[in-house]
């Protein structure tokens, strides 16, 4: 589609009026515009279209299913050998191991990174609380974020005990929490082998 460079009946191009409406630019020729019915009419029309663009932007568009969870399922079921080869040595796959029971260990040829269990607890707690329907976290008070983190060999198992809002289906809530925590642990801590157990320990009426 090629845009015709529309010229109005007064000889002025339409394009500056579009920019005026879209960007809030001042009129290129205020004096002409003020006196020209063609320009004013076209501008009103363009502004009308732009208010519809704004309406479209405000529309609440949501996927019908949990796409993060679906992607995570695919990642987990795809065979390991389909993972792309690391491009160079420093980016080589980072083995994850426990260290002293309290850290995840990311090793590279340039050194190691340890992430304390409490950090993983805090990350997962924050991710879980961001899900609508989760009212509070409960359980192991010794961990920040009040979740339990188990580092076992190359995998991290996170258990979240939570209080849910009474109303929405709890399995769906658990899936949402799991997906959010998984994604956040992957994104922030760089851990790949993650299990998230959700315990709905209590419910309370929505406020």
């Amino acid at each position: 589609m090629s845009a015709p460079d529309t010229v109005l009946a007064c000889g002025r191009p339409l394009a500056p009026l579009v920019e005026q409406a879209a960007e809030g630019h001042p009129p290129v020729d205020l004096e002409h515009q003020a006196g020209c019915s063609h320009c004013r009419e076209a501008l009103a029309e363009v502004e009308g279209i732009w208010s519809e663009v704004g309406e479209l932007a405000r529309e609440d568009v949501r996927a019908r299913s949990d796409l993060v969870a679906a992607a995570m399922r695919r990642i987990r079921t795809e065979p390991r050998e389909r993972e792309p080869r690391p491009r160079s040595a420093p980016q080589a796959r980072q083995p994850i191991a426990t260290h002293g029971g309290g850290h995840a260990l990311l090793e590279s040829s340039f050194g190691s990174t340890r992430i304390a269990a409490g950090v993983l607890a805090a990350i997962s707690g924050r991710a879980a609380l961001a899900i609508p329907g989760v009212r509070a976290l409960m359980g192991d008070r010794s961990a920040a974020g009040a979740s339990h983190v188990e580092l076992d060999g190359r995998s991290v198992a996170i258990t979240l005990e939570l209080e849910a809002e009474l109303g929405p289906p709890l399995p769906a809530l658990a899936i949402a929490v799991r997906a959010a925590v998984l994604a956040e642990i992957v994104a922030l801590a760089g851990l790949a082998d993650v299990i998230v157990n959700v315990v709905v320990a209590n419910v309370a009426d929505a406020r």
Binding site: I49, L67, I75, A183
Partner: protein, 154 residues
Amino acid sequence: MRRHESAAYRVAVRMLGRPADAEEAVQDAFVAAWRALPGFRGQSRFSTWMHRITVNRCLTVIAGRRPLAAPLSGAEADPGHGPLEAAAAREGTRAVTAAIECLTPEQRAPFVLRELEGLSYDEIGEVLDLSPAAVKGRLHRARLELVEAVRPWR
């Protein structure tokens, strides 16, 4: 991550039209993002990086279906799924939705990111690998195309 999911889906559904295509593209984008995470160095914001992967995925999908694709109008979209269609039933936004789908992919991407997602020219440049000036140029054409396409509906 919820935030990234809804933003990615919004962009994908505006880019691709069909909700089913958008859902698949977003899933693909998340899988690709997860695989590419070790390469993410924080040189841009995570959301910008995610947009980049999503938009590229959508452009690939569009390129793949082009030979058979008359642009999908809002009226022909998957019937009866949730708020998008409910809202699109309103005449005004339906015309805009249809017009967006008539833009070329090169114009549609900056239009969606700017007008519907509110990204800055700099951010769009990062997503699309374009200079802010090139973004501005494409956006200008896209807006004009859109207005020309919507006017006959009014």
